[in-house]
Symmetry: C2
Subunit: 486 residues, 2 copies
C-alpha cells in the first residue's frame, strides 16, 4: 500500500467532521440512529444532520443538502433509500468530502450480477469524483479514541490497540461488545459491507501499517482476490498477529454469505492454506475470536506450553484439578509434575490431607488465607518446569467460605502479585451467582495484565494457539512484535 492510500484510509478513521444524510426527527430510522449514537458518544468533531426539511434535528441545525453546510465535511454517512442516492452522491462530489459510508443496501447481496454492476458504477464514480466509498450495505468506521462510535447502534468500543476489519455489520458490533465486556480495546473498527470500493484487503493492509494497531482481527465471508489476500496476510503476519474469523465456512454458510454481502465464499481449503502460509490464527466463532484477541492484547508472548493450574483458593479444587489435567493434555498444552523441591515446599506450606500437591494444584487446605496462597503461587510459578500460570477463582465458593475482608485481601494479593511472577498469568473466573464482584475482579485483574476466561477450556485453547503462533513466528523468522501499551 502506497503512502498516499495509507493516508487516505487513515483520514477516514480520523474525521474532524461527520455529516449524516437521512437523519430526521423520526426515531427508529437508521440515519436518526447514527446521529443519536454520535451525539451520545460525544464524538470529538463537528456533526451535521442533512435533511431536505431543514430545521433542527436532535438540537443540531439540519442542512437541506451537503452543499448548504458552511464548513468542510470529512465523512458522510448515507442512510437513505437506494433510489434517492444519485443527487446525494452528486453533492458529495461537489462538496469535496473524503469518504462516503453507504448504509443503504439492496445491491449485489440482493440481485447478484445486476447489483454487482451497480456497485462497480458506484466505485468508479467515487474514484472519478475523488472520494472513497465504504459499503454499500455497511455500518462503517469507528475510532474509539475519537469517540467515533460504531454503526446506528452507536456502540463505542473500549479504546486500545486491536484493529478489527469486518464484512458483517452485526458481527463487528458483537465483537465490539465482547470487547466491552471482556476488556478488549480497539484502535479502529471497520465494517465494509459489500466492499464495492474499499474492501477487506485495503483495510487489512492499512491495519498492518497502522502504528496505532498492534493486533489485528478480521471477520471475512469471502475475498475477491485470493492471491493478493495471501500476499497481504503473509506480509502483515511478519510484524503483527492476525486472527481471522471466517464466515461461510461450510456450503450452507457460503449460500447464506452470498445473500448477505454478495461474497463468493471460496473453498475452505484455499482459506486454510492461506492461513497456514501466513501464520494467521483461525477462529471459528465469536467466542474464539474474542478469546484470542484478548490474549494477544494482554499477555506477553507464550514461549512454552508447560502450565501450572492452581484451584481451590477457598474450598473446592479437587475435581477441578482432575478436569484441568484432562483439558491441558487434550488441548495440546502440558501440566507437568512440579520439581521435587516445589512439592516439598508446598507440603510444608499447606499440608497434604485432602489437597492435591501435584500440578494441577489444589490449594483447598490453605483455607483461603491470602498469605499462604501468595506463597503457593510463588512456589508453583517459580518452578523451573513451568512456563505459564493459571489460577481459578470460583467466586461462589469464595463468598460461601470467606469473609468479605478476606476476599478483598485475596483479590488485592492476586492483583499485586501477578505482574511480579515474570510469566504469563491467566485467571479463570467462571460465571455464577456473584456476577457483579466477578466482573469487577475481572476488570482489576486486566488492569494488572491478567486476562480472565470463563472456563479453563477456553483459556487453555487460547494459550495453545498463542504458543503455536509464537513458534511459527520463530520458524518463519517473523520480525519481533511490539505489543505496544496496554
Amino acid at each position: 500500500m502506497d503512502t498516499n492510500t495509507f493516508q487516505t484510509i487513515d483520514s477516514i478513521f480520523n474525521p474532524t467532521s461527520v455529516a449524516v444524510v437521512g437523519a430526521s426527527r423520526t426515531p427508529g430510522k437508521a440515519g436518526s440512529a447514527f446521529l443519536k449514537g454520535l451525539i451520545a458518544a460525544r464524538f470529538k468533531g463537528d456533526l451535521f444532520p442533512v435533511n431536505p426539511e431543514g430545521g433542527e434535528v436532535m438540537g443540531l441545525p439540519a442542512y437541506r443538502c451537503l452543499g448548504d453546510i458552511p464548513r468542510p465535511v470529512d465523512n458522510v454517512i448515507v442512510a437513505i433509500p437506494r433510489a434517492a442516492l444519485p443527487p446525494v452522491l452528486e453533492d458529495c462530489a461537489t462538496k469535496g468530502v473524503r469518504m462516503v459510508q453507504l448504509f443503504t443496501a439492496g445491491f449485489s447481496e440482493l440481485s447478484g450480477e445486476d447489483g454487482l454492476a451497480q456497485e462497480k458504477q458506484l466505485a468508479a464514480r467515487a474514484r472519478s469524483c475523488g472520494y472513497r466509498l465504504l459499503g454499500p450495505n455497511c455500518i462503517g468506521v469507528s475510532r474509539p479514541a475519537l469517540s467515533l462510535p460504531l454503526g446506528p447502534e452507536g456502540i463505542l468500543a473500549r479504546p486500545g490497540h486491536v484493529g478489527f476489519v469486518s464484512q458483517s455489520g452485526s458481527l463487528s458490533l458483537r465483537t465490539a461488545q465482547v470487547g466491552i465486556t471482556r476488556g478488549i480495546g480497539f484502535s479502529k473498527i471497520v465494517s465494509f459491507g459489500n466492499g464495492a470500493d474499499l474492501d477487506s484487503l485495503d483495510f487489512l493492509e492499512y491495519m498492518g501499517m497502522d502504528p496505532d494497531t498492534t493486533v489485528i482481527g478480521a471477520y471475512l465471508e469471502g475475498v475477491k482476490d485470493g492471491p493478493r489476500f495471501v500476499r497481504i496476510l503473509k506480509d502483515i503476519c511478519r510484524t503483527k498477529p492476525v486472527v481471522v474469523w471466517k464466515g461461510g465456512a461450510t456450503e450452507a454458510g457460503a449460500r447464506t454469505a452470498a445473500s448477505h454481502t454478495g461474497s463468493l465464499a471460496g473453498s475452505m481449503a484455499v482459506w486454510r492454506a492461506a492461513l497456514k502460509q501466513s501464520a494467521a490464527m483461525a477462529a471459528d466463532t465469536l467466542e474464539e475470536a474474542g478469546d484470542l484477541l484478548l490474549g494477544l492484547q494482554t499477555l506477553p508472548p507464550v514461549s512454552g506450553k508447560r502450565v501450572t493450574i492452581i484451584s481451590g483458593l477457598a474450598d473446592g479444587g479437587g475435581g477441578e484439578s482432575v478436569a484441568a489435567s484432562d483439558i491441558c493434555t487434550s488441548l495440546g498444552m502440558e501440566a507437568p509434575p512440579f520439581a521435587p523441591a516445589t512439592v516439598k515446599a508446598l507440603t510444608g506450606l499447606v499440608g497434604s490431607v485432602g489437597s492435591i500437591l501435584h500440578n494441577p494444584l489444589d490449594l483447598s487446605q490453605a483455607y483461603g488465607r491470602p498469605e499462604r496462597i501468595r506463597q503457593a503461587l510463588e512456589l508453583a510459578s517459580g518452578d523451573p518446569n513451568i512456563d505459564v500460570v493459571i489460577f481459578e477463582a470460583v467466586l461462589d465458593f469464595l463468598y460461601a467460605w470467606l469473609s468479605d475482608e478476606t476476599i478483598e485481601a485475596l483479590f488485592s494479593m492476586l492483583i499485586e502479585l501477578s505482574p511480579k511472577l515474570g510469566k504469563p498469568v491467566i485467571a479463570i473466573l467462571p460465571p455464577g451467582i456473584n456476577e457483579m464482584p466477578r466482573l469487577e475482579l475481572e476488570k482489576r485483574l486486566l488492569a494488572a495484565g491478567v486476562p480472565s476466561y470463563p472456563s479453563l477450556e477456553r483459556a487453555v485453547k487460547t494459550l495453545a494457539r498463542l504458543h503455536r503462533w509464537n513458534r511459527q513466528r520463530a520458524e518463519t523468522e517473523i520480525e519481533s512484535w511490539d505489543r505496544g501499551g496496554p
Copy 2:
C-alpha cells in the same frame, strides 16, 4: 437394587433430622460451615450440633456426644480430624443413625493401599453396625425440596427433577450453581467422595429407580466394578436419559484423579464402550454437562435435525445468519431452505432489501416490530421442513434500537408464542452489556419451556446430541420416557 436398599438410600435423601459433629463456635471450620449452611437454607428438619464443649452453637443447643441427643438422628455429618473418628463412629452405632457422612479426608486419596484398607474397615464396620457410610472425603447429600443444602458451602440448588451423582465435591457444587444460574432443578445431589461403602453405582441405580428423578447426571472419575457399571447404565438408559461427565479422561487426569478420590480411572476406551452400549450421553466439561441437563430437563424430545434459526430481532442478523449456517452444518444439524410458500409469505411480510429470507432467517427488516416478528416466527416454525426453532435475541442490539416498551412487548410475545409453536424452541441470549435484563428474560423464557444458551454453538451441539439420543432410544427400543413436571 432390591426394595430394601432403595428405601435405605431414599431415606438418606429424606432425613427428618441431621446432626453435625464438629460444629463449633469457631468460624471457618468445616463443621461450623455445614451447620451454618443448614440453618441459612432453613432445612425442614431437626438440627443438632455436636461439640465436646456443649453450650450453644449458632443459637442451637450443642450436645457433647450423639448419645446426649434426646431425639432420633437420621443423618450425621462428621467433620473432625481422622484421629478423632473412632469414638464418634461408636456413638453412631449406639444411637442407631441411618447414615454417616464423612467429610473427614486422608484415606485412599492420600496413602493409597493403606488408606484403602482403612476405608474397607470403615465400610465393614458400618455394615455390622447397621448404618450406611458416605465418603470419606465427601460433601454428602442434598435434597433441594427439603431445603437440605449441599456441602459446607450450604448451596441450595433449585428444586426439580434432575438427579446428580458426583465423585467430586466441588464439581457437584459447581453443577448446582450452574443449575441456579441456568435454571436446572435438582431432585437429589450426592457427592460420595472415596465411596468406601455407598458409591457411584449405588446412587446411579437409586436415581434410575427414583420416581422423583427424570434426568440423571453424573461426574465420575472411575468406577470399581466395570461390568456392573455397564449393566446399570444400560438398564437406566432404558427409561431415563443419563449424562456422564468423565474426569480423568487422559493419563494426566487419571494421575490427578488417583490422588483426588483414590480412583482407578480406567482406560477411556472402556468408558466410551460403556457409554456407547448404553446410549448414555458423554460430557467433557461442566458447560457441556449443564447444557445437556438443561435441554433434557426443559425440551420435548428432539425428533428431527432440521433447525430454523431466526436472528436480527432488532438490527443485526446478517453475519449471524452466515455463522449460523456453518455452525449447524459442522455440528451435525441442518438448516434446510424453507419451502417456497414460506419464502413467499416471508417476503410479503418483511420485504427483502438487506434481510436474508433463507433459513437462517435474518429479520432485521422487521425493525423489531413484535407483531411482524410473531408472524415471521409462526411462518418459519410452521414450515414442514423444520423440526426445531432457534431464535437469537442480542439484547445489546435491542436496547440500542428499540424503546423499553417495544422490548417488553417483544419479550412478552416471545414468551407467549413459544409454547404454541408445537416444536422444541431454544433461545440464544449472548452475554453482553445488559446482563440484568438478559438474565430476567432467560428466567421468563424458561418458565415458558424455552431453555436459553449463551451461544448458538452450544445450543446446536446440545440439540445434535439430544437428537442422537432420541434416535438411539428408538433403535434400542428404549421404553417411553416421562419427562415429568417442569
